[in-house]
C-alpha cells in the first residue's frame, strides 16, 4: 500500500513543483509599480532600535529622520523597526528574495561579504570622510569597496568591582602574572574572579583574542584569519593554553558554558563576580542606567587588558570594532536620495549619539565641553592613544568559519580539546574556505 501511495505522492509533488516554477516569472514583474507614479520620493529605511528596548537610540533616529525630511521637501522616510535578532533573520529572508530596503543596517566583516559580492549593497567609498576613526570604515571593506558606514565604535576593557578589589587588598594588574595573582587571591577568598557568558561564545572569544594579541602581537591572529599566516602559530596555541590555565585556576564563574551574556552580566551587577570583560556598549550600565544600584555603579572601574611578559602585544592595543553601520541597497530606485540620507545620518549621529544615547560613534568626538560621565571621557581619551584595534574574530571571519571558531572557544573553555587541537581545527576550517 505504502509504495503505491508514495509513488502517487511523488507524482503529485512533481506536478505541483512544475506549476510552481511556471508561476514564478509571471508574478515577478508586479513589484516595480509601488513607488513609480508618485512625485514624492519614499526611502524605505530599516533599523534595529525599537523604542521599547533602545529608547534613546530610537529617539535620535526619529529626530534625524524628521530633520532630514524637513530639509528635503518631497522626501519621506518610511521606517521599519525590528529587534536585533529579528532584524538579522528578516534581512536574510528579504535578501534571498531580493527585496532589501533602500537603506538599512548591517554588521561589519564577514557579515557583509555575501551582500557586497552579490551586488546587493552599494559601494559607499565616496562617502567615507576623514571624520571616521581610522580602521572603522575599513571593517566594512570587501574587495576594495566599502559597503557600510559605521555608526558605533566599541573597544573592550576589563570592568572590575573596586569594592571587591579593595576588600581583598588588590590593585589593578598591569601584567599577566599580576592578573593571575589577583585571580588566585580572589579564588582563595571564595570570590568568583571573572564572569563570562560563554553560551554566547563571542564573549569567551574576547578573552582568547586579547591573549593572542598580547602574546603574538596584533598580526598573529589577523594573519591567521586573512591566510597570510597560520592558526597553528605558537602564539595562538599558547593563548589557548593560557585560557586552559585560567579555567583550571577556577577563574571563571561556575557553569560559564551554559550561561548567556545577560546572565553573566547579572552576576557582575549583583556583585557576585569581580571582573567582566565586555565592550564599551555596556558603559551606560555602569554610569547612567538607573536600574542598577548607585552604589554598584560607583564601584565599577575598568582597566586595560594586561600585557604578557615577553609577548609582542602592547597595552594600548584593543580588541573591538564598529557595531552596526548603514548600507544602501544597490537596487534602490531612489539611490541618490538614499546616499544623501546616509551621509546626513552619519554626520548628525556623530554629533548626538554620545551625549544623548551614550554610544561612542565611529566618527571622532571632541570631548571638550561635553557633559559626560568620567568613564566616557577616559575611554574616549584611551581611544585617541590606541595603537591598534583588532576586529572581533567572529566578525572578521566568514559566517561558517566564525561558527567553528565559536564552537572551539566553547570547547577550549570546557576542556574538550587541547590547545593544539583548538588551533588545528580552526586552521582546517580557514584553509577549507580557500
Amino acid at each position: 500500500m505504502f509504495r503505491k501511495h508514495t509513488f502517487l505522492l511523488i507524482l503529485t509533488v512533481l506536478f505541483i513543483g512544475l506549476v510552481a516554477c511556471g508561476n514564478n516569472d509571471a508574478g515577478a514583474n508586479n513589484q516595480g509599480n509601488e513607488n513609480g507614479s508618485n512625485d514624492d520620493v519614499v526611502i524605505d529605511f530599516m533599523h534595529l532600535w525599537p523604542a521599547g528596548s533602545s529608547r534613546q537610540h530610537n529617539e535620535i533616529v526619529q529626530e534625524i529622520v524628521d530633520e532630514f525630511e524637513a530639509d528635503h521637501p518631497g522626501v519621506t522616510i518610511d521606517m521599519e523597526i525590528l529587534g536585533n535578532e529579528q532584524y538579522r533573520e528578516n534581512l536574510s529572508v528579504i535578501g534571498a528574495a531580493n527585496e532589501l530596503p533602500d537603506v538599512g543596517m548591517t554588521w561589519a566583516g564577514g557579515f557583509i561579504e555575501p551582500y557586497a559580492r552579490g551586488d546587493m549593497f552599494t559601494d559607499l567609498s565616496d562617502l567615507v570622510t576623514d571624520d571616521f576613526v581610522p580602521g572603522t570604515a575599513e571593517a566594512y571593506e570587501v574587495d576594495g569597496g566599502i559597503y557600510g558606514l559605521p555608526l558605533e565604535l566599541n573597544i573592550t576593557p576589563v570592568y572590575y568591582n573596586q569594592a571587591i578589589f579593595d576588600e581583598h587588598g588588590l590593585s589593578v594588574p598591569e601584567t599577566w602574572d599580576e592578573f593571575k595573582e589577583v585571580v588566585q587571591t580572589l579564588v582563595d577568598n571564595d570570590v568568583t574572579p571573572i564572569t563570562v557568558g560563554n553560551r554566547d561564545a563571542w564573549t569567551g572569544s574576547m578573552w582568547y583574542m586579547y591573549l593572542a594579541d598580547r602574546i603574538g602581537g596584533p598580526a598573529a591572529l589577523n594573519d591567521a584569519i586573512s591566510r597570510e599566516g597560520s592558526f597553528e602559530d605558537p602564539a595562538l596555541i599558547e593563548a589557548a593554553a593560557q585560557i586552559r590555565e585560567l579555567v583550571e585556576m577556577d577563574a571563571f564563574i561556575n557553569g560559564y558554558n551554559g550561561l548567556g551574556n545577560d546572565e553573566a552580566k547579572g552576576y557582575f551587577i549583583n556583585e557576585q563576580a569581580a571582573m567582566y570583560l565586555m565592550a564599551t556598549w555596556d558603559l551606560p550600565e555602569w554610569t547612567t542606567n538607573d536600574d542598577n544600584p548607585q552604589e554598584f555603579r560607583d564601584s565599577v572601574g575598568y582597566f586595560k587588558f594586561p600585557t604578557v611578559e615577553g609577548g609582542a602585544g602592547e597595552i594600548n592595543s584593543y580588541v573591538g570594532g564598529p557595531g552596526v553601520g548603514l548600507f544602501v541597497s544597490e537596487q534602490s530606485d531612489v539611490k541618490e536620495e538614499a546616499l544623501e540620507f546616509v551621509s546626513y545620518f552619519v554626520e548628525r549621529w556623530g554629533e548626538m549619539s554620545v551625549t544623548d544615547a551614550g554610544v561612542i560613534p565611529a566618527t571622532t568626538v571632541d570631548t571638550e565641553g561635553l557633559d559626560l560621565p568620567q568613564m566616557y571621557i577616559d575611554i574616549l581619551d584611551d581611544l585617541n592613544e590606541a595603537t591598534n584595534l583588532t576586529l572581533y574574530a567572529d566578525v572578521q571571519m566568514s559566517a561558517s568559519t566564525a561558527d567553528v571558531h565559536l564552537n572551539m572557544i566553547q570547547a577550549i573553555f570546557g576542556g574538550e580539546v587541547t590547545p593544539e587541537e583548538f588551533a588545528e581545527r580552526q586552521e582546517q576550517a580557514l584553509s577549507d574556505e580557500d
Binding site: T12, G17, G255, N257, G258, L259, S400, M408
Partner: protein, 292 residues
C-alpha cells in the same frame, strides 16, 4: 454506505479548498526547498546548480548525524512521556474531585510562549543561583552539575523542559477522548464489579487506542522538527552538544548563509520524518485501521 456518501462533487467540495491551500503554502515551498538543496547558494547572490552534492555531503556530515541522534533521542523521550500523560488523564477521568480544574491547570505551561518558558528554565538551571542547584545544595549535594554547561547533562535538562511544556497538550487530547466514551459503558462495567484499574486498562485504553496512536505520531514527528526551546536555552551548545536537526538547519541557512545546504537539511528532515512515520504505522498497524 450508499450513493449519497460517494458523491464526488461533495467530496471535492470538502477536500479541495484545503488541499489547494496546503499545496500553495506547504507543498510548493517544500518542493522549492528540495530544489534549493541542489544549489550552492548563499541566499543572496547567484545560485549554482550542484546536483546532489549537498545531499552527499549531508550523508558524511558528522554534525548532521549527531544532531539527528539528538532529535531521535528527543523523540524517544517524548514518546515514553506519553505514558505518564496517559496515566494522569486516566486518573483525571475517574471520580476525582476538581478534575476539571486540575486539567486546566496542567495546560498552563502550553499557554506561555517558548521564549518565556526558556527564560524560566534557564533560571531554574542556573548553576549558582538557580532553583535546582539551591535545592540540591540544601539536601547536601556538594558540587551539583552546571546543567546547561555540561555536555553530559545538557540534553536531559532540555528534554525535561520540553516534556514539561507539552504535558498539557497531550493531557487535553487524552481527556477529550476519554470524555467521548459513553458513560453507559463504564456504568455497565461498574455494575459487573470491575475495579477502576480494570476499567481504565480494559475499557478506556482500548477505546481510545486510535487517539493514542495519533499522539505517538504527533510526539515523534513533533520532536524530530523541534527547535524553539533548545535554540533559546543553549543555541545548540556547548560546542554542539545539544544540536538538533532543526537548529542545525536554521544555523546553516540563516546563520552561515549556506542556504543551499540549509535547504538540503530541511528536506532531509522531511524524509526522515516520513520514514519514521511509515515505520510507526507498520509497527502499530492493526487490521481495523486505515493503512497508509
Amino acid at each position: 454506505m450508499n450513493k449519497v456518501m460517494s458523491n464526488k462533487w461533495i467530496i471535492a467540495l470538502y477536500v479541495l479548498p484545503s488541499l489547494i491551500l496546503l499545496g500553495a503554502l506547504v507543498y510548493i515551498p517544500i518542493v522549492m526547498t528540495g530544489y534549493y538543496g541542489m544549489m550552492q547558494w548563499d541566499g543572496i547572490g547567484e545560485m549554482n546548480f550542484i546536483g546532489l552534492d549537498n545531499y552527499v555531503h549531508l550523508l558524511q556530515d558528522s554534525t548532521f548525524w549527531f544532531s539527528a541522534r539528538n532529535s531521535f533521542l528527543l523523540a524517544l523521550f517524548s514518546t515514553l512521556s506519553l505514558i505518564m500523560y496517559l496515566v494522569v488523564s486516566l486518573v483525571l477521568s475517574g471520580k476525582i474531585k476538581g478534575s476539571d480544574l486540575l486539567r486546566k491547570i496542567y495546560l498552563i505551561p502550553m499557554l506561555l510562549s517558548s521564549v518565556a518558558i526558556a527564560q524560566l528554565w534557564i533560571k531554574i538551571y542556573d548553576p549558582n543561583n538557580g532553583m535546582l542547584n539551591s535545592l540540591l545544595r540544601t539536601i547536601g549535594v556538594e558540587n551539583p552539575p552546571a546543567w546547561l554547561s555540561d555536555r553530559s547533562t545538557v540534553l536531559i535538562a532540555i528534554f525535561i523542559a520540553i516534556i514539561w511544556q507539552y504535558a498539557g497538550f497531550y493531557i487535553i487530547i487524552y481527556s477529550a477522548a476519554l470524555k467521548g466514551i459513553p458513560a453507559s459503558l463504564i456504568e455497565a462495567a461498574e455494575i459487573d464489579g470491575a475495579t477502576p484499574l480494570q476499567i481504565a486498562w480494559k475499557i478506556k485504553v482500548p477505546l481510545i487506542s486510535g487517539v493514542i496512536k495519533t499522539t505517538v505520531i504527533l510526539a515523534i514527528v513533533g520532536s524530530l522538527k523541534y527547535f524553539d526551546l533548545i535554540f533559546v536555552m543553549t543555541g545548540g551548545g556547548p560546542n554542539g552538544a545539544s544540536e538538533v536537526i532543526a537548529s542545525y538547519m536554521y544555523k546553516e541557512a540563516f546563520g552561515r548563509y549556506n542556504f543551499g545546504y540549509g535547504s538540503a537539511l530541511g528536506f532531509a528532515l522531511l524524509i526522515l520524518a516520513l520514514l519514521t512515520t511509515w515505520v510507526i504505522q507498520k509497527v502499530m498497524a492493526t487490521k481495523d485501521d486505515i493503512q497508509y
